[in-house]
């Protein structure tokens, strides 16, 4: 089966959605990013309601859940990226939660894959998702015992210096390579390499 639909000139009809969102969820702010992309900044207590509503009107594809660490404002920004397959519009639903007490609610009942996105966000930012019982299981980082690594106050260089001491070399490998290649004369420990 072939399909030649082309969505180049579709009326996205998003203005109506914004009016409804603003009447249903007070305090929602809309920022247009480009022709087909909008950021919706919503208070954290109204986020789940808005996500449920958006899913019910066609914004049903969850691309990713991710997090941004605004350390100076002491906030974590959770971003849910929703896509609508019928009009090609993307919404970045953004909400701010307290950085010192990073607890939010799971959406895994709406989007099963969210279980893994939430585990990812928990592992790298330390945000807990109530209702996601697997949230605290390690995913990528086994036996991690430091700050969640994508937080801004985690310093990877310092971590590396502490955990992986610099190697010291007794011999100069470049000098040895030159001897093997025959550029200079000299001895290397273990004798000549055969063949």
């Amino acid at each position: 089966m072939m399909n030649s639909m082309n969505n180049g000139n579709v009326d996205h009809n998003v203005e109506k959605v914004f009016d409804e969102l603003k009447s249903m969820f007070g305090g929602c702010e809309v920022v247009q990013i480009d022709e087909r992309q909008y950021k919706l900044i919503v208070p954290s207590d109204k986020t789940l309601g808005m996500l449920t509503y958006l899913k019910s009107i066609g914004y049903s594809h969850l691309s990713i859940i991710t997090c941004v660490d605004w350390i100076e404002e002491k906030k974590f920004e959770l971003v849910y990226i929703l896509f609508n397959w019928s009009n090609g519009v993307t919404f970045l639903v953004s909400t701010f939660i307290d950085r010192d007490k990073p607890i939010f609610y799971t959406v895994k009942d709406m989007w099963p894959t969210a279980e893994y996105y939430e585990r990812d966000v928990h592992e790298f930012f330390g945000v807990e998702f109530e209702g996601n019982e697997n949230c605290k299981k390690p995913l990528m980082l086994e036996l991690w015992n430091d700050l969640p690594p994508l937080r801004k106050d985690f310093d990877p260089l310092k971590y590396s210096k502490e955990h992986f001491p610099d190697r010291s070399y007794d011999k100069d490998p470049m000098h040895e390579a030159r001897i093997i290649r025959g550029d200079i004369e000299g001895d290397i420990e273990g004798g000549e390499i055969d063949g």
């Binding site: 990013i33 894959t113 893994y116 990528m140 990877p156």
Partner: protein, 367 residues
């Protein structure tokens, strides 16, 4: 019969990439499966926050080894959205050529990839050797075979080298001539049919529920393609079809690949007709040389990769480095949730086929 735990990881020749599955089996049937990523976690997202905007160009193609150009395109397009920069027209057409060539190369590679687990080595030899011809062209265009670093914020690095377009047309003719052979000798081969039909079947409802996109979704009969639904670059100015199948099994997914290659060839031919001459890049923001400062903002850019939706969320705080970059790998849903919930019921020897035809790519999950 007792339950036994088997480790299926990078040590197995049937698994492409550093990813593993802990399989709990009874007899030769998987009854539970647990995905274990993280073997090559190199902290790309963290590293990007510590490098200049342009320095990251050397880093990002490595997030998806087999299909690097989509990373460059997403990164560049997201920055352009934040900076509200209009990319020169010629650069956008060139980007389409690069993305479609990358698409052809990756379909070839995946087409070869299925040869290993099925024992159909002809498929591997042919497609990998033909893919190399695409890489030759990439080398001429960008100086590199795999990691091109060619698409940059603001356009592309440089214009086509002399006689590039003639070579491109010649390559397209060659690949188009090869496709009937692929279809006759490989896709109609009994080995492939016996091994792939009815294996790793997934239905539309499950795909949409868990977020599987791309060929996985289209093989269930849904013609969703981001190039059509939310056209980026000039995909709304070219004509192409979205091939679909209805079976939703491994055979359907593989059979769509040559059809997709045909559409990519069709797109590139149209691009060559439409493409005007002119500049190929523009200044993205104020700044000294490569030390640009991207204005404050957040944007998500996505492209249709061979495995589905691939996207970058880029956040800038107006400084010389990105504040945050998040990568949405195309195989994240099927690679993690899919392995845990959809793989059980598969036979052990079909597990490599499951992972291969679902397009599970470890580096984009680990990123």
């Amino acid at each position: 019969m007792g339950e036994m735990k088997l480790f299926f990881g990078p040590n197995h020749p049937g698994l492409h990439g550093n990813f593993s599955v802990h399989m709990y089996v009874e007899g030769d049937t998987v009854i539970r499966a647990r995905p274990v990523p993280g073997f090559l976690h190199r902290g790309f997202e963290k590293l990007m926050e510590r490098r200049l905007w342009y320095q990251n160009l050397a880093l990002i193609p490595r997030i998806c080894v087999q299909e690097p150009d989509i990373n460059e395109a997403c990164y560049a397009m997201a920055i352009e959205k934040i900076a509200k920069v209009e990319v020169p027209e010629r650069a956008q057409w060139i980007r389409m050529i690069v993305l479609e060539l990358a698409r052809i190369a990756n379909h070839m590679w995946a087409f070869g990839g299925v040869g290993g687990p099925t024992g159909m080595y002809t498929s591997m030899y042919w497609s990998v050797s033909d893919r190399d011809k695409v890489l030759d062209l990439f080398e001429e265009l960008s100086g590199a075979r795999i990691y091109h670093m060619y698409i940059i914020p603001g356009g592309v690095r440089k214009d086509f080298p002399p006689n590039f377009e003639e070579k491109l047309v010649k390559l397209l003719d060659y690949i188009e001539g090869r496709l009937p052979e692929y279809e006759t000798f490989i896709l109609k081969n009994r080995i492939l049919h016996t091994r792939l039909r009815g294996i790793a079947t997934i239905d539309t409802e499950t795909c949409l529920r868990i977020g599987v996109t791309g060929i996985g979704l289209r093989a269930t009969g849904v013609p969703y393609d981001i190039r059509k639904v939310a056209p980026y670059l000039f995909y709304d100015k070219v004509e192409f079809d979205v091939p679909t199948a209805t079976e939703g099994d491994a055979l359907a997914r593989i059979s769509l690949k040559p059809q997709e290659i045909r559409q990519s060839i069709r797109i590139i031919r149209q691009v060559l007709e439409h493409m005007p001459s002119g500049p190929v890049n523009t200044k993205i923001a104020d700044g000294n040389g490569l030390r640009i400062r991207v204005p404050k903002g957040m944007a998500y850019a996505m492209v249709e990769s061979t495995r589905g939706e691939y996207g970058y969320l880029v956040v800038s705080d107006g400084e010389e480095k990105p504040y945050r970059v998040a990568v949405r790998g195309a195989s994240y849903p099927q690679g993690l949730y899919g392995v845990e919930h959809l793989m059980p019921g598969t036979r052990i020897d079909d597990v490599p086929i499951w992972l291969d035809t679902m397009g599970v790519c470890a580096p984009e999950i680990d990123r």
